[in-house]
Each structure stands twice: as C-alpha cells, then as structure tokens.
C-alpha cells in the first residue's frame, strides 16, 4: 500500500514535526507499506489554473501525481486565520473533483489555540468528503504547549498519533478488500 504523509504549510515547524512522528509510527508498525513524505515547504508549486493534474510540470506535477497514486493519505495542517492554509487548499484545487475516490484520508491539525479545534471538522472534512475521500473520522489536534523545540512532549498526543496511523491503515485495508470483493462480482 502507498501512503502519503503530507505536511500542508510552508510556515513554522509544528505540522512538519507532527508528520515526522506520524511517518515514524507508520514505518514502525507497517514496514511493508511504502510511505512518502510531501512537505509543501520543500516544493515550488504553482496555483491551479484549471488544467488536468497530469498536464502540470515540475514540482506541481510530482506532488499531484504522488497524491493521486496513493492508497491512503495522512494530511497534517496548521490553522491560519481560522482556516487551512492556502498552500494546502491549492493542492485540493489542483486535483480532479473525484481525486480521493477509493482513498482513505486521516488528518492531524496543529494550532496555537484550542479555539481552533473544530476547524478540521468544519472546513477540512467537507472538502475531503466532496472529493470522495473515505475519512478517518477521529483526527489528532495538537496545541502549542504539546511541542518543545521541535519535539512532541505530550505522551497523550503520541498515543493519538499511533491510533490515527492504525485507523488509517486498517480502514484503507478494509475498504480495499471490500472493493476488490465487489469488483470481482462484476462480470467484466
């Protein structure tokens, strides 16, 4: 199974730190799966101009293609101005409307304030749902105080990341099995 861990911002370090822990958990628990990190800070990605994702060049093409080839994603996002960052929204805008069909998507959010807890519920989930993702309903929300110098110092957060990783992989495995069973029933 191909899993993409996506860090959705070019600003700060909290989301990337949390995604690094997520990747470590994925590699520890599921060494056979292929895990790819996409940190949007590492790429120069153009804004969507409406073309098919295959027709972009360079970093934009690499990132969209890698996302499209994934069986499961874990998306990490900070909260900016009470929403997801434009860098992350642009990734969604670059992709087709059904981009997450047959994909499982888990989420983690980092924020400076507990007031942002429902942003993922109210803003990220509807986008993923519209794009046909199977969403892992529980997400991990991590606050400023859980970090210390690019490390997570709250064991509760680490436990929650472990559960997110397990839930994402179990759901992806399950949906894949169900889909294969169903597809096998078709007579073509």
């Amino acid at each position: 199974m191909k899993i993409v861990a996506l860090s959705g911002s070019r600003v700060g370090s909290k989301t990337r730190t949390a995604i690094d822990y997520t990747i470590k958990a994925l590699n520890d628990k599921y060494p056979d799966h292929e895990v790819t990190l996409i940190d949007l800070a590492d790429y120069d990605i153009q804004f969507s101009d409406g073309r098919n994702y295959m027709e972009y060049e360079g970093d934009t093409k690499y990132v969209t293609q890698t996302v499209m080839e994934a069986d499961a994603l874990i998306i990490g996002t900070p909260i900016f101005q009470a929403s997801i960052p434009a860098t992350l929204k642009n990734i969604f805008d670059l992709l087709p409307v059904n981009a997450f069909r047959n994909k499982v998507v888990g989420m983690l959010g980092t924020a400076g304030s507990p007031k942002h807890y429902l942003i993922l519920e109210n803003q990220l989930k509807p986008i993923l749902g519209y794009m046909k993702a199977q969403i892992v309903q529980s997400y991990v929300f991590i606050e400023e105080e859980d970090f210390q110098r690019k490390e997570i110092i709250n064991d509760d957060v680490l436990f929650r990341i472990d559960r997110l990783v397990e839930d994402t992989v179990i759901l992806a495995d399950t949906y894949q099995r169900i889909r294969e069973e169903k597809d096998a029933q078709y007579d073509f």
Partner: protein, 352 residues
C-alpha cells in the same frame, strides 16, 4: 436543417468517431505503431461507409497517446478513400489554430470529398495543445470565442474584414478555396454542463454534446438549455440540429460487450485523464436509462431509440475504438451496426 445537410425525414443519423488515441491494448500490453493506427482509422472509415453508416469523424489532441494531431491530413486521406460517408473533425481545437488556415484545410477536404465535409469545433478537454502551439491557457475561453467567431464569418463570407486580439486583422481577405456548396456545416462541441450548451445556443450554431456515462435524463437538460438559449437569441430551434457523442460497443450479449470494452476504457482513461472508470459506474451503464451505448445489439438499439425519443436529436455518433481495441473487434462491431442497428434505427426514426 438544409444548411447543415440534415434531412430529418431520413431519421436519426448514425456515425462513428475516434479521438485518434494511440494507446496500448490492455489485454496484451502491446501498442501498434502510429503508422498502423492511422491506416486502421482510414480503413475503419471505409468499412463504416460500406456498412451504410452516415458519418465518420476524427479528433485533434496534441499529447502523448494520440496519433491524429494533424487530423485534417487524416481526414483528407479519408475523403479520398471514401465516396458517400459524411466526414468531420471531432473536435477541431480552433482556439490554438489559425481559423484561416483551418478553413482552407476543411474547404479543400470538402472539395476532395465532393461536398461531404463538416467541422466540429471545440475548446479542448486535454490542453497539451496550448503549450505546444504557443498559446496561453489563461486565454482558454477568449481564444475559442474569438477564433470560432472568425471561423463562422469566413464560412458565411468569401471576403472577410475582421479585427481581433489573437490574430492579425483581415482586410478584404478572400479565404479560398470555397467549399463545394459555398459553406460548411460548423458545429460547436459541448461537454458536461447545461451552461456550456447554452453557449452554442447563444451563438446560433448546431451543437455536438459529448456524454461519457450517466442517466440519459441528465443530458436532456443540456439539450433543453441549448434550445432555450437559441430561442432567447432569436433563433428557431427547429432549424438547428443536435448531435450526441459517446461510448458505443456491441457484442452478442451485454455482459460480453462490457467484458470486452471495460479494460480498454479503464486503462485508457487512466493514461489520458489520470483516473480510471469506476466499475460501479460502468456496471450502471448497462441500465436502459443510462446513456452509455454498450451492450447487446438489441439493448443498444433500445437505448438509442430511448435517447432519440428524449432528445429529439438528429445524429448520434459512437466511440468504440478507445484504448487499443483490436481491429477485429471493430470489424465485428461494424457488422452488427450494418446488419442490426442501422436497419432498426431507420425503421423507427425515419418519417414514413
């Protein structure tokens, strides 16, 4: 309808189209050469004519996995190789061509074919042509509208005076040669939404409506929107033909037709559009209410007649060669069309 060379008393016209895709056969993994693919397209047009099919058209896509970038050249070979069948593009991406040169090509093909040539102009669903031919995708809509309008003006007037943004002005320009009957049927290609169909209506041109799959009733909305926009702009919808275009494939049974065509469509779409065709949607395509004409000859006949009843359209064209379908399979389809499908369609849609 005369202007568009459509005789409604003869009933629904039936045609075939190819995008000119050049894809591997997913059953074997092999891909024929571009040379063979182009020759097979020309031969397919000849076989279509022999079977009594009304129309054959070739698309223009400038990117990997396509072979008919120079679609007018392929059409001129078809014009020479055939006698009676109507021929056209499907579609010509006029946005990134010079309408003067495009018209010269099509008028010449019309003379070679002795008055059988039409143009279907579209905006492109694959946009590789913009970078390759030196156009900015940001001008996607303006390029099409301006150049399509110029194409229509050249069609209506032998001498053209014209000013625009994306091409040098024309001063008393004579665009020659003229087509056999003075002008060509020029259609506007529309995909997807009723809003897109309206644009063809506002422009007062006949419409080509592409449909991949989904309930037939959904596409009725686009046709209604087109006719409504025609009326809004002061045209009489009864004078403007509508054509639909979508997947077509027949075999002895619907199951067999689905089995023979699904891998081609699924793998072909992955390569050209970046996403396959979900099996669940494809399975629904067998429903008589779905617009996808894939099935046994009898079921496809019933679907086409149902579509005709709903749409009141003048022409349906089927795409059956997408994704590396073998030539033997295409020949079997042509046999079914000639012996079963055409007689039934004409029997039930021609005026008695």
């Amino acid at each position: 309808m005369d202007k568009y060379r459509i005789d409604p008393s003869k009933g629904l016209e039936f045609g075939l189209y190819t995008l000119g895709d050049h894809l591997p056969n997913p059953e074997t993994g092999d891909r024929i050469s571009a040379e063979q693919r182009i020759h097979e397209i020309i031969e397919l047009a000849q076989l279509a004519e022999q079977a009594g099919i009304d129309f054959f058209s070739v698309g223009e896509s400038h990117q990997d996995f396509f072979a008919t970038q120079a679609h007018t050249v392929v059409l001129s070979a078809i014009a020479q190789a055939t006698e009676n069948i109507k021929i056209s593009s499907s579609s010509t991406i006029i946005s990134t061509l010079d309408p003067v040169r495009a018209y010269e090509d099509f008028a010449t093909i019309d003379l070679i074919s002795k008055g059988r040539t039409e143009i279907v102009a579209g905006r492109a669903s694959r946009v590789g042509n913009f970078d390759l031919l030196g156009y900015n995708l940001r001008n996607y809509e303006d390029l099409f509208e301006e150049k399509f309008d110029l194409l229509l003006q050249i069609n209506e007037n032998e001498i053209v005076n014209w000013d625009g943004q994306y091409r040098a002005p024309l001063r008393n320009a004579r665009v020659l040669p003229r087509p056999k009957e003075g002008s060509l049927p020029i259609w506007r290609a529309v995909g997807g939404t009723p809003a897109s169909a309206r644009k063809a209506g506002y422009a007062g041109v006949p419409m080509y409506l592409a449909h991949l799959g989904g309930p037939t009733a959904i596409f009725k909305r686009s046709i209604d929107a087109y006719r409504d926009a025609l009326e809004y702009s002061g045209y009489n919808p009864a004078e403007f033909p509508v054509s639909t275009a979508g997947f077509f494939y027949v075999a002895e049974t619907t199951q067999q037709a689905q089995r023979e065509t699904y891998p081609h469509i699924n793998e072909g779409m992955k390569r050209t559009n970046g996403q396959g065709f979900p099996k669940q949607h494809f399975a629904q395509g067998a429903d008589p209410r779905d617009v996808m004409n894939i099935g046994s000859p009898q079921e496809v006949i019933e679907k086409i007649l149902y579509q005709h009843e709903l749409f009141g359209h003048q022409r349906y064209i089927g795409q059956m060669d997408f994704g590396g379908v073998t030539f033997d399979q295409l020949k079997r389809n042509i046999d079914f069309i000639g012996t079963e499908i055409l007689p039934a369609i004409r029997k039930y849609t021609a005026q008695k």
